[in-house]
């Protein structure tokens, strides 16, 4: 063994004194520099989940459709007809701040590999994005630069790879100025009898390295993603990997073809912590050892040290374990696709990760010590940190003209305006499965082979979670499931991305804990087990944390392959039914809850109070009623009410190709702005033919939900009447122009 290192080197690698002691006690000696590198990435927050694991255990992970739960590269659900879907979400926040384009490309590349390493062909990508305000005088220029780079990177990678980017969300807030969030979600499908796992098995079997060559990019990336940023973060640019979607496309085809030979026993992508993580995890899962010699590893650069080779995060690489004697079949496939495939080592019986360099041992560590043996912290937590006051300013009831202006202002706000500028850069149609693409409540893709469709919703709501992470997260799960209900889908599983600040601060840790507990309760309620995901902590720059931002991706099944019901009105002279009611469950504290909404943020310019109240049982009843009405083809359109409340949802419904208008007539005892803009959950606005209205109302009654008729669709104008008198009217075309062009105007501003 080569020279050993000192404790100070360990601290520089981000290990604590206690963690370092644990290493030396376990080894009975000081580690080598390569071992130190290996331990430091495997025990980084990013790879080990050492702060969150204890709490993640509270999440429901089992269900009748769950074939593979957390712990593998992606979760897998049974979608019927002999088919399965693998899906997962993962963050690439830190790299995207340092180098937006490459940070985003490699985020997409990483999550795609997580899917096809299971044997599934990726068929959909979505992204949850968070940026700082585009018009901020201080940070706006940088925020626009980051957004353009990230969107360009996602487009570049997904379009070239040939997977449709079918939806996602993009939200803006101050706290993301120095810490943008890029959470990439991917879903793949395959016959359920051809699942591959990331476990090594069979002593003596060859360990084969395939894909791109190893370079110096991304060394210590996982550790970087486990620390806060400071003024020196610019110097971390070399830590960001560079993505090559063309290579990944070849890797996909080659891997699926190699898997079909029957010679592959286990496979895992080299993502965070590269060769280190893939060898240690495959060995750990299989309960075996792995011995490799680095001299066989294809290298892009000369003179790389064992430390660099083990810690490189070069992209588009995979590690697989093959049946001894059948290597040739695998090599032939990779040769056809012009990719490297090299035997770098073998499976052993000793349970160790043995790394040699030209025969000399440079690292010898127990796989389980690196994986399950990672530290597990019970970090102290208090009450969730929050900055906003409980009560907001006194606001007098707006006039009709002011309500009209508020609506226009909301539609032009960065959070609510059309994101067409973003999603038109994504090929959302390739593979010709996208029956509902970007811009709707849920994305829907058909599975030609299985005769069903999958609906997907990706959502986050940090505005709510910053005020109450527990309730905010429950509302988030509810909204995701509601988004599926409006296209007639039944949710079957979920993936989560938990983006938070520094867990060593008790107020931040409390946000994480409460969010997870809220998610656990809601996921159990809606029958959406968590099949895996990602935790991204230390999202702080110079001590300032992001708003707590849990993101959920929920997958549901639609039992046909036709174009699903959309959110836009199709025809005039249809009844408008507000399933769930105007403001269900009434609440005396509604002024306080109104402070969490988009109206408070954008029109009043403040955020305060608490998120909207949520009754989980009532929410389920609304979703069941909506799903039943949609499945029975009784509604022409259905749209979930969320940011901006009833008035914004109604207006969005008018933005279809026909620009159909609506007359909204409501009776309320509340101030008009609350009735129109409060973001109470459990509500869906449906347009229904006069003949079908009775059937829909009957379904609503049977499910015990309120379902007032709140007006009808008309030609090209929005008319709002409150308690019998007209508050305002406005042409649809005028609002559409505002909404459709707002983002482009903000981005093109110089």
């Amino acid at each position: 063994m080569v020279a050993e290192v000192s404790e100070s080197a360990a601290l520089e690698h981000g290990l604590t004194r206690e963690e370092y002691d644990r290493v030396t006690n376990h080894l009975g000696r000081a580690p080598t520099i390569t071992e130190l590198g290996i331990v430091s990435v495997m025990w980084s927050e990013h790879c080990s989940y050492k702060s969150s694991r204890r709490h993640l255990k509270k999440l429901p992970t089992k269900g009748e459709r769950i074939l593979i739960g957390p712990g593998e590269n992606a979760g897998i659900v049974d979608i019927g007809g002999g088919w399965a879907a693998a899906f997962k979400i993962e963050s690439h926040n830190h790299p995207s701040y340092i180098e937006p384009f490459q940070g985003a490309t490699t985020g997409v590349g990483g999550i795609l590999r997580d899917i096809f390493t299971m044997g599934a062909r990726p068929v959909a990508v979505m992204d949850a994005l968070r940026f700082g305000p585009l018009d901020d005088p201080r940070t706006g220029v940088r925020n626009r630069h980051i957004l353009k780079g990230v969107v360009g990177g996602i487009a570049h990678y997904g379009n070239c790879f040939g997977v449709p980017t079918v939806g996602g969300e993009c939200v803006f807030a101050d706290s993301y100025s120095s810490n943008p969030l890029v959470n990439a979600y991917a879903l793949g499908v395959f016959p359920k009898d051809s699942i591959f796992l990331g476990a090594a098995k069979g002593v003596g079997n060859p360990v084969i390295y395939v894909g791109a060559k190893t370079g110096r990019d991304g060394i210590q990336g996982a550790s970087m993603a486990s620390a806060e940023f400071d003024e020196d973060s610019e110097a971390k640019r070399p830590n960001v990997q560079v993505g090559d979607p063309f290579l990944e496309k070849l890797l996909l085809e080659a891997c699926l073809e190699a898997m079909a030979t029957g010679a592959v026993l286990g496979i895992q992508d080299m993502g965070a912590a590269g060769l280190t993580c893939s060898t240690a995890e495959m060995g750990g899962r299989g309960g075996v050892g792995i011995e490799i010699d680095l001299k066989y590893v294809p290298q892009r650069e000369r003179g790389m040290t064992p430390y660099e080779i083990m810690l490189s995060e070069s992209q588009e690489r995979m590690l697989l374990v093959a049946r001894r004697g059948r290597e040739r079949e695998i090599f032939d496939v990779f040769e056809k696709w012009g990719l490297d495939a090299v035997e770098v080592g073998a499976v052993t019986s000793d349970g160790n990760l043995t790394v040699k360099n030209h025969g000399e041992v440079v690292a010898l560590l127990e796989n389980c010590f690196l994986t399950e043996g990672a530290p597990l912290y019970d970090r102290p937590y208090t009450t969730p940190w929050r900055a906003a006051p409980l009560d907001g300013p006194q606001v007098s009831e707006p006039t009709g003209g002011e309500l009209r202006d508020a609506l226009s202002k909301l539609l032009a706000s960065p959070d609510l305006c059309s994101k067409r500028w973003i999603w038109e850069q994504y090929d959302y149609q390739v593979r010709t499965n996208t029956t509902a693409g970007p811009g709707g409540d849920a994305a829907v893709i058909r599975l030609k082979e299985a005769g069903i469709s999958l609906a997907m919703s990706l959502d986050g709501n940090a505005r709510y979670c910053s005020l109450d992470p527990r309730l905010g997260t429950k509302l988030l799960v509810a909204e995701c499931c509601r988004n599926l209900a409006v296209v007639g889908a039944k949710p079957v599983g979920a993936t989560n991305n938990l983006n938070f600040g520094n867990p060593e601060k008790p107020g931040i840790m409390a946000q994480l804990v409460e969010s997870i507990e809220g998610m656990a309760e809601a996921c159990a309620h809606f029958g959406t087990p968590i099949t895996g995901g990602n935790v991204s902590l230390y999202n702080e720059t110079l001590g300032e944390s992001i708003d707590p931002t849990p993101v959920m991706g929920v997958v549901g099944i639609v039992e046909h392959v036709d174009t699903p019901v959309g959110s836009r009105f199709l025809n005039p002279d249809r009844k408008l039914i507000l399933l769930g009611g105007l403001l269900p469950g009434g609440d005396e504290r509604i002024e306080r809850r109104f402070g969490s909404g988009e109206y408070a943020k954008t029109v009043i310019g403040q955020t305060w109070g608490l998120p909207p109240a949520l009754d989980l049982d009532y929410e389920s009843a609304v979703q069941a009623a909506v799903r039943e009405a949609v499945q029975a083809s009784l509604v022409e359109s259905a749209h979930d009410l969320s940011d901006g409340g009833l008035a914004v949802a109604l207006t969005e419904c008018c933005f279809g190709p026909g620009k159909v208008g609506a007359r909204l007539a409501i009776e309320t005892g509340r101030p008009a702005h609350i009735a129109l803009f409060h973001e109470a959950p459990s509500r869906v606005l449906a347009s229904v033919s006069v003949d079908a209205a009775d059937y829909v109302l009957r379904i609503a009654r049977r499910h015990g939900i309120e379902s007032p008729i709140v007006g009808e669709t008309i030609a090209d104008e929005i008319v709002v009447e409150i308690n019998g008198s007209e508050a305002f009217r406005v042409p649809v075309a005028e609002l559409y122009a505002v909404w459709d062009t707002a983002l482009e105007r903000m981005l093109e501003a110089s």
């Binding site: 360009g152 487009a155 570049h156 379009n159 070239c160 790879f161 040939g162 090559d244 979607p245 063309f246 290579l247 496309k249 070849l250 696709w337 012009g338 999603w423 038109e424 850069q425 994504y426 090929d427 959302y428 149609q429 390739v430 593979r431 010709t432 996208t434 029956t435 058909r446 030609k448 392959v561 036709d562 174009t563």
Partner: protein
């Protein structure tokens, strides 16, 4: 009709073409690997969209050297029907089977959206079932689809009736004279940026792309 869909490394609309041709149009389809030395006796060669060779160097610039392209050229020169969509169009230009070039979209961004196409001629095997009066709704999805050629070439394309498709209304990518698809002199080679194979199934919205493939099927039936 037997269609051959050529697959280059990085092609990614090959599956879509195979599905549309075999399922929506009930035609025989074979997949042809780019190293193939044989066109398998197909009636029509289809070069699909995607990012052959990662668009390195220039879109289509490397794919034109794939072994199969020698066969495709010979096939076209002898009057065989060849159709390239999106990246397939780019490859046909690089291979010299069609005149002009495709450069980056005027807004310098990738654009995916439905566009309206007017049909420039029905005097071709690719458009004989189209209607000069009725625009087609077909999606585009490309970053480098801005058609460029010298005025002399453009004039010639127009006078010889070789502009197969034009963007009707908005010109999404800045193409010269709104050109979306062109024919070669022999009218047996078509290149177009929009994706007719994505507009063949009611579940995808438009089915206007069927007209192009139905034209091909009709062209192959000998006129009595």
């Amino acid at each position: 009709m037997k269609f051959g869909v050529v697959i280059f490394p990085g092609s990614n609309c090959d599956h879509d073409a195979v599905y549309a041709l075999s399922r929506n149009l009930s035609q025989e389809v074979v997949e042809i690997w780019h190293r193939s030395e044989d066109l398998c006796g197909v009636d029509i060669v289809f070069l699909p969209g995607g990012f052959s060779y990662g668009d390195y160097l220039r879109c289509g610039a490397i794919a034109r050297f794939s072994p199969v392209m020698r066969l495709v050229k010979r096939f076209a020169d002898s009057g065989g029907l060849v159709m390239g969509v999106c990246n397939g169009f780019q490859i046909l230009l690089e291979a010299g089977l069609l005149p002009g070039a495709l450069v980056r979209n005027r807004n310098l961004r990738f654009i995916c959206k439905e566009v309206r196409l007017s049909v420039g001629t029905i005097d071709s095997p690719f458009t004989n079932r189209c209607n000069l009066e009725a625009a087609l709704t077909v999606p585009i999805a490309h970053g480098e689809g801005c058609y460029f050629a010298s005025d002399a070439v453009l004039d010639r394309l127009e006078t010889e009736g070789r502009v197969a498709f034009r963007y009707a209304g908005e010109n999404p990518n800045g193409s010269a004279r709104s050109i979306a698809g062109i024919l070669n002199e022999g009218r047996n080679v078509l290149g177009m940026m929009p994706h007719p194979e994505r507009a063949c199934d009611p579940a995808m919205g438009s089915t206007d792309g069927l007209a192009v493939f139905q034209s091909l099927v009709a062209a192959a039936v000998p006129v009595l």
